[in-house]
């Protein structure tokens, strides 16, 4: 390629920068790679500083102010956090979010794992591909489309779901209009949309398990539940940890589905933390209070994730 240049070092040696970076010396190549390193990371580092790290610090700062677009910011110390501590609506939104996270994650992980176990060693490849595609298809839809569609299906009086449940002798269930059921309905909706993604991750975990270990276990007479508990589950535990941690983080930031399906209703019974933050920050234009809610959510996400990693030492098995 540019072997010509190497054979004629004198050509660029007159330029001090070119000499410093000369490609025919090891030191020059090292310097080139160093310079290129900084150039290459610059867009990412600048972008993250401006749009993630800076705003994170901004959130922190804003939470000490009372500020909306129209009036200049006013420093109020810890007032926003004091208000937060006594705000029952925020408390309710955290309770709703936790209930949603637990219901969604339990259903999601157990269903996805069961499906992956049933599919991963299927002899009929075409059937396996069909199932994989079927499970994955809802992942391609937006939360908005899913919320709109399932909102129709869950309609109490005209919905398809209640129609078929009627055949089983079940009275019309007020899926979206009763405060007792609405969180479960939203959890079902979320499971429907995310099942395929979690399923694929478990399928990956199962496929990368060493086949010899399974065969050895079978030769030793480990079958069925025993094989599952003693062999598959420990080997799969890192994948399970990854799926649970990422799913919990995703669900703690829940917004699209409840916002579109119920607007947080009936009452506040399906209002999530991010909906509270959206309402304070962008509905009431109370940026300071909205930031305080966002910070509290961030702290909760960190704590919940930390607890999961701490507990994982007891059950996750790293081969």
């Amino acid at each position: 390629m540019s072997s010509k240049v190497i054979s004629q070092p004198g050509v660029y040696r007159r330029n001090p920068v070119a000499r410093w970076l000369a490609a025919d010396t090891m030191a020059g190549i090292k310097r080139q790679r160093m310079l290129l390193g900084y150039l290459f990371i610059a867009p990412t580092i600048i972008g993250l500083l401006v749009f993630v790290i800076g705003p994170m610090l901004g959130s922190f700062g804003l939470s000490f102010y009372k500020w909306n677009i129209f009036r200049p910011p006013e420093f109020i110390g810890l007032d926003n956090f004091e208000r937060l501590a006594g705000d029952t609506r925020v408390f309710v939104s955290f309770r709703n979010t936790f209930i949603l996270v637990v219901m969604t994650v339990v259903m999601l992980e157990s269903l996805a794992l069961a499906l992956a176990l049933a599919v991963y060693r299927m002899a009929n490849k075409a059937f396996a591909t069909f199932l994989r595609t079927a499970y994955f298809l809802p992942v391609l839809l937006s939360g908005a489309s899913v919320a709109v569609t399932l909102g129709y299906l869950f309609n109490k009086d005209f919905g398809v779901i209640n129609y078929y449940l009627g055949f089983l002798g079940i009275d019309n269930i007020p899926w979206l209009t009763s405060s007792d059921v609405v969180l479960f309905t939203i959890a079902l909706t979320t499971v429907w949309r995310n099942l395929g993604f979690t399923f694929i991750i478990y399928l990956g975990g199962l496929s990368s398990m060493p086949g010899e270990v399974l065969e050895a276990a079978e030769v030793d007479g480990a079958t069925g539940w025993r094989k599952f508990y003693r062999v598959i589950l420990p080997l799969l535990s890192p994948t399970i940890l990854f799926a649970v941690v990422t799913d919990v983080i995703k669900m703690l930031q829940f917004f699209d589905e409840p916002f579109i399906m119920t607007r947080g209703g009936p009452g506040d019974s399906s209002r999530t933390v991010v909906m509270m933050m959206y309402e304070s920050g962008f509905g009431n234009l109370d940026f300071g209070y909205g930031s305080a809610i966002a910070l509290l959510l961030f702290a909760v996400i960190m704590i919940v994730t930390g607890i999961q990693f701490y507990l994982s030492r007891r059950w996750v098995f790293y081969g």
């Binding site: 867009p43 990412t44 909102g151 005209f158 395929g196 420990p234 990854f242």
Partner: protein, 297 residues
């Protein structure tokens, strides 16, 4: 595995096979089959219902019992979509936003991922840890300052730039591609240096093509996430002509859900087609990549 080693005596291969055990296995197989097929049924039926209902006249869209086979073949709902919302504009916006972010992320993440994996410079490890730390910051925790930045400082509110520029740098993509570049042996670079290639050529001609499965996964995941994004357009956009299609669909439904179902569903079908096409092209990489545990790091 450890537990197997601990108790080798309790389970031996000389265990007698009893016919009842075989019988339960057969029942188990049938139950498994019923289970996996019925879940596939549940994930697919809403799609069938959406398509069938989108082809039915609005008056019959809530017909009970639900009809699964579209008998009316009424395409007028699809033409109504174009009348109710500026559909082509909004689809165009979605494409413009999504493709800009996808290409932007491919560039920034492949550069940074390569640098963190293969170039040596002072501060590399600290900077990489900073990038990893930003992975844990949820988008919602920063949205208020980002909104102030976009609207008051950059004056990009209600422009497509508001949805593109904040998404160009990606901690996730940088991390993903770093893992890919780490998996490519150093010998390629040594060979290329002997051939007289410069550092830029080593990156673009050798390492970048070898990392293309990683680039494909990042492209498909980013496309899916950005195309389906609802939260940030909801915050930044006011003008209907500048909405991406996710906002358009909810707009079609009307604030109190007064819109015709058939028309809304026709809009959902139309807006999902591009993602399905992208998925058909990218699924090999996506599914294989996810299955290979690329996301586990």
């Amino acid at each position: 595995m450890a537990s197997l080693v601990q108790q080798p005596a309790t389970t031996t291969s000389t265990m007698p096979r009893n016919p009842r055990g075989r019988y339960t296995i057969r029942i188990g197989r049938w139950l498994t089959l019923i289970f996996i097929v019925s879940i596939a049924f549940l994930t697919l039926m809403p799609f069938v219902w959406v398509v069938a209902t989108s082809l039915r006249t609005p008056a019959e869209s809530f017909s009970v019992p639900p009809e699964w086979i579209p008998t009316d073949m009424d395409f007028s709902n699809y033409t109504r979509v174009f009348e109710e919302i500026p559909f082509w504009r909004q689809i165009g916006n979605s494409f413009f936003i999504t493709l800009s972010v996808v290409f932007g992320q491919l560039i920034t993440a492949s550069l940074a991922g390569y640098a963190f994996a293969r170039l040596r410079f002072p501060g590399r490890n600290i900077l990489f840890w900073i990038v990893l730390a930003t992975l844990m910051i949820p988008g919602q925790a920063t949205i208020i300052p980002v909104f102030i930045l976009i609207s008051r400082v950059l004056h990009l509110n209600d422009t497509l730039g508001a949805l593109i520029i904040p998404g160009l740098a990606t901690a996730f993509g940088t991390f993903l591609l770093r893992q890919y570049f780490l998996g490519i042996p150093d010998e390629f670079e040594e060979a290329a240096l002997v051939e007289g290639a410069n550092q830029w050529q080593i990156f673009t001609k050798i390492y970048l093509p070898l990392a293309s499965p990683g680039l494909a996964i990042l492209a498909v995941l980013t496309f899916n996430a950005k195309w389906n994004d609802y939260f940030s357009p909801l915050i930044f956009m006011n003008t209907k002509e500048l909405f991406p299609i996710t906002l358009g669909i909810v707009d079609l439904q009307g604030y109190m859900g007064t819109g015709s179902i058939s028309i809304v569903l026709a809009g959902i079908v139309l807006s999902t087609i591009p993602v399905i096409i992208i998925y058909i092209f990218g699924q090999r990489y996506l599914v294989e990549g996810l299955m290979a545990g690329a996301l586990k790091g």
